[in-house]
């Protein structure tokens, strides 16, 4: 049911892990639903320089996490924010319809991480 691209990202996920001194961290989902995703980003000069993830979830959840980290590195924060769940799914050559929510989750985790980064940034500035 999964494309080769999904299987590749599931079997060889990119950027698994945490970033100890992350500039932003986002965590979405909950174990009741069966998907939890944590996304870590490093940002320098408004450019995302590194991204890592940890995911509890199905194959699609892992693959969307993986490809999202790949997609954002090198992008400006505001560009990264524009990544839609459709783009995530397309980058994987598609997802089964019942798995589309997983790409949502990845986009949400990224958004949370960026929000976190921005709020920290704002805090620093206001200090």
């Amino acid at each position: 049911m999964y494309t080769d691209k999904v299987m590749d990202h599931f079997m060889n996920p990119r950027n698994v892990g945490e970033i100890d001194d992350a500039d932003g961290v986002g965590q979405v989902g909950n174990p009741v639903c069966g998907d939890v995703m944590a996304m870590y980003i490093k940002v320098k000069d408004d450019i995302i320089t590194d991204a890592k993830f940890k995911t509890f979830g199905c194959g699609a959840a892992i693959a969307t996490s993986s490809i999202t980290t790949e997609m954002v590195v090198g992008k400006r924060v505001d560009e990264a924010l524009k990544i839609s769940n459709r783009e995530v799914a397309e980058a994987l050559d598609g997802l089964p319809s019942e798995k589309m929510h997983c790409s949502n989750l990845a986009a949400d985790a990224l958004k949370e991480a960026i929000d976190d980064y921005r709020s920290r940034d704002a805090d620093e500035e206001s200090e």
Partner: protein, 386 residues
């Protein structure tokens, strides 16, 4: 790549003897059992022969107590709706359990829309129903109790004999879904004391699309399929002779192979369970002893079931997960939740169901392949093993 099929509770390959019988009735003796010519007569004989084999397998005293259906789901539907419709003037209360297959649960729910009331008794942490609790749930208007013989997810065997005893004293019909039990353990309607029993071909090395319902002599059911006067008016539709003959052969094969099969499965089961329990954070689901010999259901902490399956599949191993994530429902197994398991652990469940064709090498292969997959997924997981 070595392929290991460990999903026999989902479906089984067709036994070569069964396939041979099916081919005969597809190609040579292809008649319609209602026809009065030679082709019809041969079809009728096959029908009779299969009815006797299935009756024998479940310990029915008469072949005519067996009605052929299109599968386990239809058998469950016919048993429950047919009995409810026939008895609705006596009462409209049905008792079932929280761990039944959807073919039973959703049928009961459909009856609720027709004015029936349904009590679902719970289970303990091993998935067992307490016969006392069933007894206590009985009301004056209870007309039917439906409790499965063995669970499809965790393999737990229910105390159906005890449940039936209390029910029959009060003239309440007892149905048991024996779809998973029949291929793996001796099943006898007299010992169980049930009035209705469902089984399905494709779970017992027989064909898909054919099942049977045992209906104790004298039990009135209303047919749910209208048309010709097939199956003595209990189920209309041209009889699926190749399928039914195949089911008969599968029943005969089961009778012959069962003692050997049980021993073989128990040996493999023990080996697999022991091996898996060596892995950190792995928990056995279901009952230790009151369990089908082919079922190994585990939960692995901190990781999700489908991702384990995908990992296994990439290595040629076919298993299944308790989680219904694939159906888009995102609901973890209602069985594991009814057993009091946390959502997280329920999402991490993995079901491996053994079959007559599995070998010790298959088990050892799985024990080699699975632990690294669990490790790899745990590395990705945001959770710690408790």
């Amino acid at each position: 790549m070595r392929r290991v099929y460990l999903d026999h509770s989902a479906t089984t390959p067709v036994h070569p003897r069964v396939a041979a019988v099916i081919n005969r009735y597809m190609l040579a003796d292809f008649g319609n059992a209602s026809s009065i010519h030679e082709f019809g007569k041969t079809a009728q004989q096959a029908l009779r022969w299969s009815r006797e084999r299935v009756a024998e397998l479940v310990g029915a005293s008469e072949a005519d107590e067996i009605v052929f259906t299109s599968g386990g789901t239809e058998s469950d539907n016919l048993a429950i709706k047919g009995a409810a419709a026939a008895r609705k003037d006596r009462g409209r209360h049905i008792i079932t359990s929280a761990v039944e297959h959807h073919a039973v649960l959703h049928t009961c729910e459909a009856l609720e829309e027709d004015g029936f009331q349904v009590t679902k008794v719970g289970v303990d942490e091993y998935g067992r129903v307490d016969p006392e609790e069933v007894s206590e749930a009985i009301r004056d208007d209870t007309v039917l109790i439906s409790i499965m013989l063995a669970n499809n997810e965790v393999g737990t065997i229910q105390p159906v004999t005890e449940i039936a005893q209390a029910a029959r004293e009060r003239e309440i019909l007892v149905h048991t879904d024996a779809v998973q039990a029949v291929p793996q353990m001796p099943v006898d309607v007299e010992d169980l004391g049930v009035d209705l029993l469902s089984l399905s071909g494709h779970k017992m090395y027989g064909p898909k699309g054919v099942g049977a319902l045992y209906i104790r002599r004298g039990t009135r059911l209303l047919s749910q399929e209208h048309g010709g006067h097939h199956e003595k008016g209990r189920r209309a539709g041209t009889e699926n002779i190749p399928g039914i003959a195949g089911l008969g052969e599968a029943a005969a094969t089961t009778m012959e192979e069962l003692p050997q099969r049980e021993k073989h499965l128990e040996r493999l089961q023990r080996r697999l369970i022991e091996g898996l329990l060596q892995v950190e954070g792995v928990h056995l689901n279901g009952h230790r002893r009151e369990r089908l010999p082919n079922n190994v259901s585990i939960s692995a902490a901190a990781i999700e079931g489908e991702s384990i399956l995908l990992g296994l599949n990439a290595e040629g191993i076919a298993a299944s997960s308790g989680s219904a994530c694939t159906s888009g429902a995102l609901e973890p197994s209602h069985v594991l939740l009814a057993m009091g398991m946390s959502h997280e652990m329920a999402h991490g469940s993995l079901r491996m169901t053994l079959g007559r064709d599995n070998s010790q090498e298959d088990i050892d292969h799985v024990l080699e392949i699975l632990p690294p997959i669990i490790d790899r997924l745990r590395e990705m997981s945001p959770f710690e093993i408790q």
